[in-house]
Amino acid sequence: MVAAIRTEGLAKSFGATAALRPLDLEVGEGEVLGYLGPNGAGKTTTIRCLLGLIRASAGRADIFGVDAQARPAQAHRRLAYVPGEANLWPGLTGRQTLHLLGRVQGKIDLAYRDDLIERFQLDPSKRVRAYSKGNRQKVLLIAALSSRADLLILDEPTTGLDPLMEETFRQCVAEARQRGQAVFLSSHILSEVEALSDRVAILRAGELVEVGTLAEMRHLSALSIDATFDTTPPDLSRVPGVTAVDVEGNRVRCQVAGSVEPLLGVLAASGVHQLLSREPSLEELFLAHYGREPAAGVEASHAA
């Protein structure tokens, strides 16, 4: 099966600044990949390389087996893209914009487009200049979704949408996935990525630091432990695998990576009264990767 997206050593530099370090990534057909990273991590740079809007400094990006750098127009035949900023022609109405984008796309499901207009509660008779930011974003979402493209590349697609419309967007992406469409979802909204994605890729300073399913990431990550004791808690900081120990009266919170057996042994011997353990949320996983390290400011200045 040909991957929807395959990159091999894809890299982009702006002068001496490496915005994207060699990236190897694959998105399968019908898969939703969440693409995470703070501002300036290289998310938009990756997407613009995938679309052939900017030239890669090295490596290769294929869309359904077509070299997106060498033959972008052919690669675009099977994809639809929603940018983070809806820059549309202010003098056209929503309907005229949808008509134009549909004609340039070359493929459009008109019935589905009308359905989407209704679901996103868009008034297509208004000029773009009269739309709010959220409504302009809806125009681009409707244009992309109604193409029924095999691959949706979405860069911060819910910018400006209200929570109700965001819920509609999630339903639409879920439907696209059910239909077998692949989705490359770059987003800052971690709950959105957590709810929609089969796999998650985390980017830091232009480098891919983690990729996998949430279950895999959680398995490899530390468990959160919350223990309450009858008496003064023991010193857990020397127990193998235990970090981030926080003592508050008879209560101790900590993280444990790897085997929990040594910790359980100490807890059992110390008269633990109550024990709660929890897998980390995507937010905790994300923050664990970034910690307190400052993010590189590359993307913001070159490709945001």
């Binding site: 809007l53 035949r77 994809l79 109405t93 004609r103 008779s125």
Partner: protein
């Protein structure tokens, strides 16, 4: 510290004024230099053009009886003196160009900023809508001040020469009169920016005001209406200042009053309307038609059609005026030494003065057409910088195909301008029974389009290599060519320098036959540059503003 806070407050309170002033001053400096060079050139070349008293008197008689020229560029007073000649020769042109500069600068720095959402950011600071508008108008005033200062300085430098002999005060007053329309139309542009809901419409509204004032002034100067009618138009007020021919400073009063009241009205209205709205709210429902929206070619026609038609109509109208006035203007001007020399350099040794004059004037129309071509490249760049192009190029559309289609439109537009220019000129000439045929005028029109094609080629190359620099370089090339064309042959005989101006290579058709070698070189360069530009464009990153 309290002292530092005070300074910071003052700086914050004038941020908008300083930012606007900086941007208005850039444009004011360019046009001020051009105004000053034009005035200085006319003053310094007077004795070369009219070496004898008889030649001056002959010129004065011809111009004095030419009602068509008087209606178009204003009345001639004391043209047998150097002061009268300089006042008449470029004053009418400077008033028109100054007014257009004023209205375009004001709408660019007010309404366009608001359309782009940047005004909103400034208003989020410690200011009010009214205060912000007042600051922006103060910034525009600084731009005008530079326009005036450079015009005045260059006029004063030329005036100080013994052969010219203008008192400094006369040169300063001339600059004031020549830039008075710029000040008034900066205020008109500022007011239109409050009244109209977009920059394009603000431009249209201000241009309409200009057209009405111009027509009133034209009728007043035609000799068929009472002289007091000139007081009905601010452009007439500027004429009533009579610079260099018995200055009338009192006539400044209505100009100052008009500018102050119009600018004040703009400030008051800015405070009364919501951001992003207009006093003249548009109730016209949006069109539902999807005609021309089947692809990028149709889109460019839809987006550019009114701009293109305005250029085509404007150039045709100008050519028509040149055609109508060709015979009478030729009688007064072809004898002027500088023009004869210029025509000779361009290869024309006119047997028919009307053909010579129209050929000479068409070189200036060629410069305007080149500006239209540069504006096309600028519009292309704006499509990319504004992010609109991403919407097309992330779909099933090849970059090269898009650029080729966009250029195809520009080439057709430039050629249409050439045809319209030729047709307009021929109608004007035919109306006055001059003996220049349709085919010759059509050749003249298309000949005037050749530098524009060259600019399109050069522009494509620059757009492919360095998109942010394309428009500034193109406008510099055209301005340079225009300046060399006007004054180059007066100040140097170095043909290497003169040859750097693209307009120099044009023959003044219909006074001469087409310069096929030059046309082949210019269009050949355009084709090669276009191909190189396309290749570079296909290889570069798309770049935001």
């Amino acid at each position: 510290m309290p002292h530092e806070t005070g300074v910071g407050d003052r700086r914050a309170a004038t941020t908008i004024a300083r930012t606007t002033a900086k941007r208005a001053a850039r444009s004011g400096a360019v046009w001020g230099t051009l105004f000053g060079v034009l005035v200085a050139n006319e003053a310094l070349s007077y004795h070369k053009n009219f070496p004898t008293v008889a030649s001056r008197e002959s010129f004065a008689r011809t111009i004095g009886s030419n009602s068509a020229l008087t209606a178009i560029i204003g009345p001639a007073r004391q043209v047998d003196t150097i002061g009268g000649f300089v006042a008449w020769r470029v004053f009418g042109l400077l008033i028109i160009v100054g007014a257009v500069w004023g209205l375009l600068t004001a709408t660019r720095l007010l309404r366009r900023e608001e359309d782009a959402g940047r005004w909103e950011l400034l208003l989020a600071g410690r200011t009010t809508r009214r205060h912000a508008a007042a600051q922006a108008i103060a910034g525009l005033a600084a731009g005008w001040a530079l326009l005036w200062a450079l015009t005045a300085a260059l006029a004063a430098v030329a005036g100080a020469r013994p052969t010219v002999g203008f008192p400094v005060s006369a040169s300063l007053f001339y600059a004031t009169a020549a830039t008075a329309s710029a000040a008034m139309f900066l205020a008109v542009g500022a007011l239109a920016s409050q009244l109209a809901p977009s920059r394009r419409q603000a431009n249209g509204l201000a241009a309409l005001v200009f057209a009405v004032f111009y027509l009133i002034r034209m009728v007043a100067d035609s000799g068929t209406a009472p002289a007091w009618l000139r007081w009905g138009s601010p452009l007439g007020w500027a004429e009533n200042l009579h610079p260099l021919t018995g200055s009338q400073p009192l006539a400044l009063a209505p100009i100052v009053l008009f500018t102050g009241v119009t600018a004040g009205a703009a400030v008051i209205l800015a405070g009364r309307r919501d951001l992003g709205t207009a006093i003249l709210a548009r109730h016209r429902p949006a069109s539902a038609s999807t005609r021309l929206l089947g692809g990028p070619a149709g889109l460019v026609i839809r987006l550019e059609r009114w701009v293109a038609l305005s250029w085509i109509g404007g150039l045709a109208a100008l050519a028509l005026i040149f055609g109508v006035t060709a015979r009478s203007a030729a009688a007064g001007n072809v004898g002027v030494a500088a023009i004869t020399q210029q025509l000779g350099r361009l290869g024309a040794h006119p047997a028919d003065p009307a053909a010579a004059w129209i050929g000479y004037e068409f070189v200036f129309l060629a410069a305007l057409l080149a500006f239209a071509a540069a504006a096309q490249i600028s519009a292309m760049r704006a499509e990319e910088a504004d992010g609109h192009l991403d919407n097309l190029l992330t779909r099933h559309l090849d970059r090269g195909r898009w650029l080729a289609g966009r250029l195809g439109f520009s080439v057709v537009f430039v050629l249409a301008c050439g045809v319209a220019t030729g047709t307009g000129g021929w109608i004007g000439i035919a109306a006055r029974n001059s003996a220049v045929g349709f085919a010759a005028m059509m050749q003249a029109g298309l000949n005037a389009a050749v530098p524009a094609l060259f600019i399109l080629g050069l522009g494509t190359l620059l757009y492919g290599l360095a998109p942010r620099l394309a428009a500034p370089i193109l406008y510099t090339v055209i301005l340079w060519s225009f300046l060399v064309e006007i004054i180059g042959s007066s100040i140097t005989s170095n043909h290497w320098l003169l040859d750097t101006a693209v307009l120099t290579h044009l023959g003044p058709v219909p006074a001469t036959s087409l310069h096929w070698t030059a046309i082949a070189w210019l269009t050949g360069f355009a084709v090669i540059a276009t191909l190189a530009g396309l290749a570079a464009y296909n290889r570069r990153d798309l770049a935001a503003a």
